[in-house]
Amino acid sequence: MHKVSEIEVQHNIMKANKKLADKNKKKLEENDVFGIDFVGAIGSGKTSLIEELIQNMDGSIGVIAGDVISKFDAGRFKKYDVPVVGLNTGKECHLDAHLVEHALNDISLVDVDYLFIENVGNLICPVDFDLGSHMRIVVVSVSEGDDTVEKHPFIFQSADLIIINKVDIANAVGADENKMATDAKKINPDVKIIKTSLKEGKGLDEIISAIEKFKIIIS
């Protein structure tokens, strides 16, 4: 004989990630490490920004390079002689706290002041997955089109710092960087927005000081 019954499960899939993210954050804090999650579309300039920060920021930096195939970006960071962990997501479109938890075991946290986590190039999926970092930087470039910000409100709402990159080519691609900044301000009224041309080094000092200020505010 078979019996049919209902079982209350109440298993929150998002909370499982959040729990691991909190664990990651605790681990960073136990080692006095400030974690930053870099999010942006493919080609927005996340990797270039991290390269510039490694070369110009005070304090030692470690990097978790997340990508569908991470060896390319990881190779770029290794040139600067900093600890780097490549994190392959394969077919997955985002990093999650579980993947970062494993990567944290492969990096000597006592040796770094800042841990940079470069997310997979994507403006959608990373929104749902807290990694346990202290700050989220969203990088958007003018070449993605000046309607990119308004089309992806959630990721910009979750940002602690928004960087509008490649402003040097805004005219060439017919994009209005001021519109992008206005859209970002509408979505996230309190966020700091910096317009940059990382290729020309424009805006880099402002980014470094914004990170340092944010670190002081939240610690």
């Binding site: 019996k3 049919v4 899939i13 409100p153 959630f154 509408k186």
Partner: protein, 123 residues
């Protein structure tokens, strides 16, 4: 876009619970998805159908309940539901329905939860 990994998490939770309760077959699964989670319910359902093949949930009916967004406005103090049904976007812009401010905190509507399962057991 990450419907596959979410569906995988959902199915794991279902099968773990089924195993714990010595279930022979899963007949029905009820899942709650917040309207602010960046998940398309139709895609989640499709993925669940694919992933559950060759499991004891292969004949299960997957029911998805959408959970409304609830906010607290940091400007005027409004607390309650936000109606986003007239938007055709899976990432609705959320603002306070009372004062239209965007300085808000999300109370509900971001989660994805396996609520319950209906199962068959041997007597």
């Amino acid at each position: 876009m990450h419907e596959l990994s979410m569906a995988d998490g959902i199915l794991k939770a279902v099968l773990e619970n089924a195993q714990k309760n010595e279930v022979t077959e899963v007949l029905e699964v009820t899942i709650q998805i917040g309207k602010m989670a960046l998940l398309n319910p139709k895609q989640v359902k499709f993925m669940l159908g694919v992933l559950s093949e060759d499991t004891i949930a292969n004949k299960a009916k997957f029911i998805i309940e959408e959970i409304p967004i609830e906010i607290q406005c940091l400007e005027c103090g409004f607390e309650g539901k936000v109606d986003v049904d007239d938007l055709d976007h899976y990432a609705p812009m959320v603002e306070c329905p009372k004062c239209e401010n965007k300085r808000i905190s999300i109370i509900n509507g971001k989660d994805c939860t396996v609520k319950s399962i209906v199962v068959e057991k041997d007597d």
